[in-house]
Subunit: 167 residues, 6 copies
Amino acid sequence: MKRALYPGTFDPITNGHLDILKKAARIFDEVILAVASITGKDTTFTVEERLELCRQATQGMANIRILSFDGLVVDCARKTGALAMIRGLRAISDFEYELSLAMMNKKLYGDLDTIFLVPDNKYLYLSSTIIKQVVYLNGNIPDLIPQCVEQALKKKNLQHNNDLEKK
Amino acid sequence: MKRALYPGTFDPITNGHLDILKKAARIFDEVILAVASITGKDTTFTVEERLELCRQATQGMANIRILSFDGLVVDCARKTGALAMIRGLRAISDFEYELSLAMMNKKLYGDLDTIFLVPDNKYLYLSSTIIKQVVYLNGNIPDLIPQCVEQALKKKNLQHNNDLEKK
Amino acid sequence: MKRALYPGTFDPITNGHLDILKKAARIFDEVILAVASITGKDTTFTVEERLELCRQATQGMANIRILSFDGLVVDCARKTGALAMIRGLRAISDFEYELSLAMMNKKLYGDLDTIFLVPDNKYLYLSSTIIKQVVYLNGNIPDLIPQCVEQALKKKNLQHNNDLEKK
Amino acid sequence: MKRALYPGTFDPITNGHLDILKKAARIFDEVILAVASITGKDTTFTVEERLELCRQATQGMANIRILSFDGLVVDCARKTGALAMIRGLRAISDFEYELSLAMMNKKLYGDLDTIFLVPDNKYLYLSSTIIKQVVYLNGNIPDLIPQCVEQALKKKNLQHNNDLEKK
Amino acid sequence: MKRALYPGTFDPITNGHLDILKKAARIFDEVILAVASITGKDTTFTVEERLELCRQATQGMANIRILSFDGLVVDCARKTGALAMIRGLRAISDFEYELSLAMMNKKLYGDLDTIFLVPDNKYLYLSSTIIKQVVYLNGNIPDLIPQCVEQALKKKNLQHNNDLEKK
Amino acid sequence: MKRALYPGTFDPITNGHLDILKKAARIFDEVILAVASITGKDTTFTVEERLELCRQATQGMANIRILSFDGLVVDCARKTGALAMIRGLRAISDFEYELSLAMMNKKLYGDLDTIFLVPDNKYLYLSSTIIKQVVYLNGNIPDLIPQCVEQALKKKNLQHNNDLEKK
């Protein structure tokens, strides 16, 4: 069974991620969407919330498994028996950072290759960060994120504003 | 009347920004320098201070208007009736980020095109951040910032050092 | 009257060029599409053919003028009284070359600024070269070039194949 | 059966290409090394020579097939039933060109995804062109090309020098 | 005496830094490794710890001097009589930032040129940040950092975990 | 004696090259300007003409030697006892190609390091090619090339035009 790991923060998952995931699922027998619990920076959603949004957004997709991991991504790959790691490429700046990660991971675990997939044109410059900025400033972008993510982001905003008012 | 929006943080405005502004003012009937009040990170100057420095630095320029905005830049463009948005390009890394913003803004407001202008050679690698670092470390760079900005930066530094001493 | 120059080889004109042209025509009172007769390399179409395809492809557009030029692009700008030069930006590699040209042109003619426009997503990675390769290898890409250009390219191919058979 | 296409000029095949090929062969059930006969530029080796060198260099590799193709790479993918196309990524400049190709190919044949693999560190900046330059100038680089390729390149050089002497 | 300055944060020093240092020491009569005490962000090690690790890692190297500096790097260069500044180049993104710094430094101190050196292949994508992430997540990478740095990093981790437990 | 090699085509030498040369001559005891006789493409000037222009342009510079070479640049470095190779960096696209060359040269001759120098701002986007285009189209750029080069380029143009008329 050929298995691939698709690791990330997914804070939150976007249609760009889902596009990569579908492409990977055509190539591999199983794709494991691995949500990092330790991210080194503050996340908008907790790891449980991120996992739940990934689950809702991938409903109906057959050969996908979702889990969270802490520690090195290569250890997660080793444990799950993944032979490759999936990464989405959006832009040049991504490319260099990804190349750097790929080399380090190859060094730490020689049996793991990184394969890069390119999202569709419309998702080329999409990132979780830009999505959150737009929603935070009350912009509307329904076709770039799953509906469940849109609702979750709006709820977060509301909560945030209420917290501010109480102070 | 052909109107353009030149949005930014301007924390503080530099001669590179002024160079772009002058170029834009030759092409459009009016250029609106729009200072973002919500920036997502700590600014050195408050939005009022940044507005005031912009006003002083652009004194005598005819077809310029200065205002501040919160919310999405496309909403500011819509309200002011701007048909294009001005962005200065300094370097490759800028280019990708700017392209990403341009695409998102186009998506949010189809009538708004982004036009990129390139500053003169001597401002190519200039940024507000590098200016602040140099002034903070007591370096002197009079020909890269307006005089009013230089004084304001030195005053900030002094204030900062006094605050430290009081502690 | 605010006039801009949009120079290029246009060998042949694509929908990406037309997209840039339309954007420029919203900003300026007149946009001059200037076809270079001296290009420094072999062109698929003669300058007359390239001009004719530009004319057909821009039919019905109001504030557009089409002409050919030899010599420096800045001399063409000076003669036509253009205050800015339009360039389309597609990718990073473009960006550097364009920056280099913009600086040289600014040096040769200080009154001419270069403004960069970004084509729509679907034209981001489009070039005349890739179009010609695909048509040459009998691929079909109707929505990336005007119909007149598609016909002209197919005719060129046919002619080319007949020439080969006669030998 | 999951099949991938690895198209290229392979003029000649290098250890960098072989590294990518091996990585692809771990992921897919079959990898088709597809040598382009029409390349749009002069090649050092004829398509037959390039095929033969590919055959010798891949001897003993199990799930590899070698063929040549003319026409569009997507037509070759369609005919062979490949669900993905393999591309090796070496550097940024590669990346943009490859992205452009990937988008055009996706447009021409929606069922074909491009997947990018990164060669080992030592092959990161390797290209057929730089190899040929070094051999042409009598340099020695045995561990970057298969032995059969080294011999073929030296023979070409010898032949070339004899031709020059006869004139 | 031809003297060069090699400034940085060195938080901590890696084998990539040492590789650059050795290359510089072949060219110059003396190379000053200058550790920045003011870095503008939190460091993992104090400036004294960073200096000590640099000293241990460079033991036995002849024409090296180690010092710390606060203030502008050009002032440090002026005081030490350095005629050039050494910078290691790893990747494109580095390149632009470094170019920007080089230009600003040249402006602040005209007698100081920046020279760029490229580390060996195996250190091309190495950074202090990625090293710290791997060690933090309990990965093992002995051949990318000096032994003294490895021990220091593990000790920091242990301390950090103990602090967490006490809370 | 610390000696560096500065190899190139120098077709023709520009003020950008001279700027790099002067910077290198401050660092090394001797800098060898090495003009490649085999360049793999047509040159505007013969190797003798290029050598002569280099000689005229560097008159009065003390620790410079000028020679031509065929074969590998590393062989030239070995013969002349150079311990480093100088390369000028102008732009990102340069950077990658240069990195590739540096790695190959290091592989071919382990004792040779490549050091990169950045030209002054005004030469950042200057190349021999763009200079020749401008002069060919009758543009004037006296401060970017030495006077002797300007005269030589104009003479070449005249000659070229006379040749055309005779046909």
